[in-house]
């Protein structure tokens, strides 16, 4: 069993149109680094030149925002789901 990574519409073209890709368990930082290595087109979308996550990228592990967990060090276990979402305007 691996980790499922759910991609937003804007990233799917960089992963041959896939909505969900698999990754090995590890930290969020490791999984994102692995994703960028496999799909280099995602690099600029996800990471700043310094390697930090872009400001408008939200990452959730089992639907919890990692900013309020352990950020990039948040552990993602086998069977968990990592969701990448762009920050968008909410309904109001």
């Amino acid at each position: 069993m691996a980790v499922s990574v759910r991609l937003p519409t804007v990233l799917r073209p960089h992963a041959a149109g896939q909505t969900v890709v698999e990754a090995d368990a590890g930290s969020v930082g490791d999984i994102i680094a692995g994703l960028v290595a496999r799909f280099p087109g995602m690099s600029g979308h996800l990471l700043k030149e310094s390697g930090e996550l872009q400001r408008f990228v939200n990452i959730y592990v089992d639907d919890e925002d990692i900013r309020y967990l352990d950020k990039a060090a948040t552990a993602v276990a086998d069977g968990a789901e990592l969701t990448i979402l762009p920050a968008v305007a909410g309904g109001a």
């Binding site: 600029g44 979308h45 309020y68 979402l85 762009p86 968008v88 305007a89 909410g90 309904g91 109001a92």
Partner: protein, 319 residues
């Protein structure tokens, strides 16, 4: 006293109901503040009144000057109601995948409605409104996402009302749209009862938005940044459409409360908090119900197969 001079005097002072019957944990009580009884039917009446009155005070709005605002419905309805009474024409920019009820309510109050593609989400409506504001400097662009009267209205009234009615509160859970409710109520609680934990829930809206070329086109409400939203929160989670619909239905079936889908999301967030409390810890969780269910009846999500209802909730803007 139940007799007032104007319907606008009925905005705020909303009731709180004990819904602990839904709690999965006997040590966690849950209370819900029902905003659906505001005259325009939602919590947004509060910020609509605050933004209009501030603009009038600041000399930016006078009878006859047109108001412009992007809205998925509720803020627009609140603004249109007040604008009608104060003599302001109004244009509301709204995604085209909102319910027909919201559009009809806006038109009933005399608003001009400009529709934007639903697959661009609220970002599309915000962008179009910004473009119209540039083209029409003679209009008053209130801009709830950046207007500090929005969180201030909740700091001044919603927060104090909640603490008055639920003084034992330990956790506050709210939905994120403009983030105004979170910022205003959350900051008030931080200032007056600093131990209260503050959580936000949101729909996975960004999954569907097709108007983005890049993640850099993302949007964080300017008020969220100005009011230090990131530091205010103890946690934030996504609530999926099916979960939102399930808890919206449970509210009706178990508590008799007929609410909108975003209320179901907030309740789902409260349930998660209750489930994860350390053993033996007692909690009093408060959530905000932004509106009643009336404006969503036509979606058909209240009855029938839950998966079909969740699929509808994914395509219709119910937030």
């Amino acid at each position: 006293m139940a007799r007032v001079d104007s319907v606008l005097d009925l905005i705020g002072n909303t009731p709180v109901v004990d819904i602990s019957v839904l709690s999965p944990n006997p040590d966690a009580r849950i209370f819900i503040k029902l905003e659906g009884g505001n005259p325009g039917g939602s919590v947004k009446d509060r910020i609509a009144k605050a933004m209009i009155e501030k603009a009038e005070r600041d000399g930016e709005l006078w009878p006859g000057r047109r108001i412009l605002e992007p809205s998925s419905g509720n803020t627009g309805i609140g603004l249109a109601l007040i604008a009608r009474l104060r003599g302001h024409p109004i244009t509301i920019v709204m995604p085209d995948n909102t319910t027909n009820e919201r559009r009809q309510l806006l038109e009933m109050y005399g608003a001009d409605v400009v529709l934007t593609p639903g697959n661009e989400g609220s970002n599309g409506a915000v962008r179009k409104a910004q473009q119209l504001a540039d083209e029409h400097p003679e209009w008053a662009f209130l801009y709830q996402y950046g207007n500090e009267a929005n969180p201030q209205a909740h700091y001044d009234a919603t927060g104090p009302e909640l603490l008055r009615d639920v003084p034992e509160i330990t956790h506050f859970v709210t939905g994120l749209g403009t983030s105004g409710t979170l910022l205003g109520v959350g900051t008030y609680l931080r200032d007056h009862k600093p131990d209260v934990k503050i959580y936000a829930v949101e729909p996975p809206a960004g999954e569907k938005v097709e108007g983005l070329r890049s993640l850099d086109d993302g949007f964080i409400p300017p008020v969220f940044v100005k009011w230090g939203g990131a530091d205010l929160l103890d946690g934030k989670r996504i609530v999926r459409p099916q979960e939102s619909v399930e808890w919206t239905r449970r509210l009706a079936s178990d508590c008799g409360i007929f609410a909108g889908v975003s209320t179901g999301s907030a309740v789902a967030g409260a349930i998660k908090v209750a489930e994860r409390l350390p053993a033996g810890e007692h909690a009093t969780i408060a959530v905000i119900s932004p509106d009643g269910g009336w404006k969503y009846i036509s979606t058909g999500i209240y009855t029938g197969d839950i998966e079909a209802a969740a699929a509808i909730a994914e395509t219709v803007n119910t937030w």
